[in-house]
């Protein structure tokens, strides 16, 4: 019940396209849903996060869509750039405790 499932495992998009990564969770106690971006050899860096009281949050080219009833949330990257090529992890936590991570999505943006 602590799992967060993420798809797809890998994603290739063209420059300027939209990248969409999906996550699903089971634990209804989760109340914080961050997305982390990880470049090779680096630690995960917070990209954007949402709480379940809103259905969407946008920061620049990055948008989280949240569907509480379906227990799903997704990351949309608009106008994807080669510099966005990285591994993206969704995560969830409850009450500020441990982060439970998804399996990760390796995004490649072709120029």
């Amino acid at each position: 019940q602590q799992q967060v499932k993420q798809s797809p495992q890998s994603l290739i998009v063209q420059k300027g396209g939209i990248s969409i990564i999906n996550c699903a969770y089971e634990n209804t106690a989760f109340d914080y849903f961050p997305w982390y971006q990880q470049f090779p050899g680096k630690g995960p860096a917070l990209l954007i996060a949402i709480r379940p009281d809103v259905s969407e949050k946008k920061e620049g080219r990055f948008t989280i869509s949240f569907n509480k009833s379906a227990k799903q949330f997704s990351l949309h990257i608009m106008d994807s750039q080669p510099g966005d090529s990285a591994t993206y992890f969704c995560a969830a936590s409850s009450g500020g405790s441990r982060l439970t991570f998804g399996e990760g999505t390796q995004l490649t943006v072709n120029p």
């Binding site: 917070l46 500020g96 441990r98 991570f101 399996e103």
Partner: protein, 113 residues
């Protein structure tokens, strides 16, 4: 911008040896975490630490592991007798009083031979 730092960046050790991984969290943060990431797999929680004691630990964090805040700035993870399966990237993270965002360090890549 303040950041979490970790040393060493890489460590190679023999099976059965003890290793200590070091972290310097962001200075005004009060919550500290260790996670690990086996190559190609997802990031997994090991332990959280607050007010000089463990606040939560996962099933991975067995008696071979220990954490310590030996002074006002460092936070360490000790593995007493390393196993081959301990080979992974180990990340330290810290959070402020709100615990809303955990900031990760660059990691220590541990290889057990």
């Amino acid at each position: 911008e303040p950041e979490v730092t970790q040393t060493p960046s890489h460590q190679v050790t023999q099976m059965g040896q003890e290793v200590i991984l070091r972290c310097v969290p962001i200075s005004n943060h009060l919550y500290f975490y260790w996670y690990r990431q086996i190559l190609g797999q997802k990031v997994e929680f090991l332990v959280s630490f607050y007010n000089n004691e463990i606040s939560e630990k996962s099933e991975i964090f067995d008696d071979q592991f220990s954490v310590e805040r030996p002074d006002g700035s460092n936070f360490t993870l000790k593995i007493r007798s390393t196993k081959l399966e301990d080979s992974a990237m180990y990340f330290c993270a810290s959070a402020d009083l709100t615990r809303e965002t955990q900031y990760f360090g660059p990691g220590t890549r541990l290889l057990v031979l």
